[in-house]
Subunit: 206 residues, 2 copies
DNA sequence: TTAAATTAATTAAACGTTTGTTTAATTTCA
DNA sequence: TGAAATTAAACAAACGTTTAATTAATTTAA
């Protein structure tokens, strides 16, 4: 593998685990097995490396959502697919999503803020449009589209953190485990799909 | 106001805005208008100051939830009150919740991790019990309790971040604003209550 | 009620580390 | 031979923390 890519993936892992300020350039260099000067050599600076990580990892985030908008499946089916698509992506790279949300909750690095915002908003616009078309066509009840999106993404996002929480607790040997049974991803998928059906469809159809 | 308290609230503000590593002891000292040595003098270290901030702010987080559990109101009414209670608290101190969730998404400072986990889990246990009783008594449908909680908290939590996002966008003068109309808090309350009614109650009752 | 004694609060300065970055020399490879 | 890749070493700046001296406040004793 290219040394540049090794640096990128090590940086992504460490930024995800310990945050931007919490990760030193020396950590990254030794983790990637390269000399510390190679980071400036390849990326210019620590901050530019961070931006490269975001760009690098988010390029793999292009979603089915865009293609979905004008496809011929039913409105509720579109929602189902969005749910599974988000679950799949967010659970497969939890560290990266930790990184994105952490950066959004911070006040400095406004440039990075904007870049991440733009990434996350891409899909939001599409999903909003799907919801609105569903409402207009009478497929969906007259719900609040933006807040419905917040519920979808927020539920998954919160679970990524909760899971971390629970793992910590289990390691400490306490006896409370909210995520015992069944595979978590399937559970979330089932929960969100049921939730959205109750939320979006008329009772008669439920 | 006590100088100790001034330091605590300045520290809470800065940790909330810039994160733990992103905030220097000198920032806090000058923000509070005290000598830099006072932080060691009062709190021992930067890390202990951080722990004090969490303890200080979370002591004000005792919820109505606990009292609610054995009260005589209906099951769905309990959920309504929990929703409003969470909205009120999380929107009134968004920085502190940013701080909590950011810390949870990080891998170091396991001790702090555990302290925050414990704070957040207090209410979760109670809400779970309310949901389970509602299910057993037939008031609620047979939903997934833990994931329902994730939806409640996750929706609000995600909105705190989304709002930040939107403010950034608006400053940049773009034309997309997902949170135009009406006061956000009321909107969220209405959305979540409707959502939970569809989710928890039988169609007949809806 | 004073004056001395004692403790607490506050300060400026310095400490040793660690930080991100750069330099200048060397190796690698085409 | 020449450009690209890699290195060890050094850089100044910022970091959290400590020191030792000074001022303020409180307690004790006459």
């Amino acid at each position: 593998m290219d040394k540049r890519e090794i640096i990128l993936s090590v940086a992504m892992k460490l930024f995800g685990q310990k945050g931007f300020e919490g990760t030193s350039v020396r950590d990254i260099a030794s983790g990637a097995g390269v000399n510390i000067a190679m980071i400036s050599y390849y990326f210019g600076s620590k901050e530019k490396l961070f931006e490269s990580v975001v760009e690098y990892k988010s390029s793999g985030m292009k979603m089915i959502v865009a293609e979905l908008e004008n496809s011929s499946v039913s409105s509720i089916e579109k929602i189902d697919r969005i749910i599974d698509s988000y679950i799949e992506r967010m659970f497969s790279t939890p560290q990266f999503h930790h990184l994105l949300h952490r950066e959004l909750s911070l006040d400095h690095r406004p440039q990075m803020h904007d870049a991440i915002t733009e990434i996350l908003l891409r899909n939001v616009v599409t999903i909003k449009s799907i919801l609105q078309k569903g409402i207009e066509s009478g497929d969906f009840k007259n719900v609040d589209p933006e807040l419905t999106i917040a519920t979808l993404i927020g539920t998954i996002s919160h679970l990524l953190i909760s899971e971390t929480m629970c793992r910590k607790i289990l390691q400490k040997g306490k006896d409370f485990n909210p995520f015992q049974s069944k595979k978590l991803k399937e559970r979330v998928s089932e929960h969100l799909k049921q939730l959205m059906r109750s939320h979006l469809l008329e009772s008669a159809k439920a």
